[in-house]
């Protein structure tokens, strides 16, 4: 019984590898650090997700995509997906694989921390140079900022650092 329960949980987890941010399809929601909890009880799967940005319009789409993905599993009878309020999602929840996925997409992964003077050090996703400047903390979506690489002279996007510190 315990074995079966364990395995359905891991099957669900595996299935969630296929659910990506609808705008960044090289990073799964697992690698984004959005999945806080997966529980299985007699064929009913409950997934608790963390909202990245509270006003992000992708949240509803992601929830639907999670439901659809889990419904495809034969063993699953019912699915419930909820956004929970705690813990707060922060950018340090993004896995190493997630950071690689962001780079592949042309988005610099978020810096580990914000310096005390509000600046942050980011490597250009094209040439790797750290000689960049923030053009706009805000970007085309809530989670991204716009930067400029002084080395290869390309504009690029970086994930905005979010922390509770």
């Amino acid at each position: 019984m315990t074995m079966a329960k364990m395995s359905l949980e891991s099957v669900v987890r595996q299935q969630l590898e296929t659910v990506c941010d609808p705008e960044i399809f090289t990073v799964s929601i697992l690698d984004l650090g959005m999945v806080e909890n997966i529980s299985v009880r007699e064929g009913t799967v409950t997934v608790e997700l963390l909202p990245t940005f509270l006003g992000c319009p992708a949240l509803g789409i992601i929830k639907e995509n999670v439901i659809d993905a889990i419904r495809q599993l034969e063993e699953v009878k019912e699915v419930e997906v909820n956004y929970i309020k705690s813990p707060p999602w922060t950018t340090d929840r993004i896995t190493e694989k997630g950071r690689q996925g962001l780079k592949e997409f042309g988005i610099a992964p978020p810096p580990a921390k914000l310096e005390d003077d509000g600046t942050w050090e980011v490597s250009c996703p094209y040439c790797g140079s750290k000689q960049s400047r923030v053009e706009n903390i805000f970007g085309p979506s809530a989670c991204r900022s716009i930067l400029y690489c002084k080395q290869c002279k390309n504009p690029f996007e970086a994930m905005k650092p979010i922390s509770t510190m």
């Binding site: 509270l54 309020k85 903390i137 805000f138």
Partner: protein, 264 residues
């Protein structure tokens, strides 16, 4: 949760939700009209986040049995709204759709800067709230709102330091906004219930912290400190509002109100 405590929580949630909704609605009206394209990106992102903050508060109200999130945001009449009057005020002359918009950027910068500065004090206080969902929500909102405050503070400082017409317009906007900024600080007629239940600290405490920051900033920029914040047009928390709010609600709910059962 006893009845009195719940009523106090509900009261404060409406204030927080309606403030964020109205300030972000006014922000949305600036789309495509701000001074430059980078600002369009920034302000619309701030507005989207802030609308998200309102939605989270309305979501807690839904959990408390107050009704559906969308209904709470869109269908409540003006006299039931709890937002501060200064937040419902139009951006300036004209209209983005019906006539040439001649909005006031100085007013917008000043209103948003003061609003975010006060919001920060409330958020910090809510982190110590006796109501756990508000603690969790405050921690999350703070991660986003700190960028908003940084943004408006930058504009505020730069336009003052620019001198000339910019500085003059900013001074006029400060004078105007200050007359009603007390409405954002207000916790309304039920303040005592809210504060004695430990949901947030008192208006006096929050005001003192806000004014301490402002005094420092005003001195740094060589501005004369305007004194006690006013609430000349009345307290929005008590249901006192202007025509501007009715116009705002009518516009923002126009599509939803056609048929609330339809998912848009």
């Amino acid at each position: 949760m006893n009845r009195e405590y719940k009523e106090a929580v509900v009261e404060l949630l409406y204030q927080l939700a309606d403030d964020d909704l109205l300030v972000s609605y006014r922000g949305s009206e600036w789309l495509g009209l701000v001074p430059h394209i980078e600002e369009d990106v920034a302000y619309s992102s701030i507005t989207q986040n802030t609308m998200g903050h309102a939605a989270i508060y309305y979501g807690i109200l839904e959990e408390l049995g107050e009704g559906k999130v969308d209904d709470l945001a869109q269908l409540r009449p003006a006299n039931e709204r709890k937002n501060a009057i200064i937040l419902e005020e139009k951006n300036g002359q004209g209209h983005w759709l019906y006539e040439e918009p001649r909005y006031d950027w100085a007013f917008t910068v000043v209103r948003n800067y003061f609003y975010e500065a006060i919001k920060k004090k409330k958020i910090d206080s809510l982190k110590q709230s006796t109501y756990e969902p508000l603690v969790q929500t405050a921690i999350k909102i703070d991660t986003e709102a700190r960028y908003h405050l940084m943004h408006w503070q930058t504009w505020f400082e730069q336009l003052i330091r620019a001198g000339g017409e910019a500085e003059e317009r900013m001074k006029a906007a400060i004078e105007k906004v200050w007359k009603d900024i007390g409405g954002v600080l207000s916790l309304g007629p039920n303040e005592e219930k809210i504060v004695s239940a430990g949901i947030i600290e008192s208006e006096a405490v929050l005001k003192e912290r806000f004014l301490a920051d402002m005094k420092e900033k005003f001195a740094e920029l060589g501005l004369e400190f305007p004194g006690e914040p006013g609430m000349e047009r009345g307290d929005g928390r008590a249901g006192v509002h202007t025509e501007d709010l009715e116009e705002a609600i009518a516009t923002l709910s126009e599509v939803y109100a056609l048929d609330p059962a339809v998912p848009w």
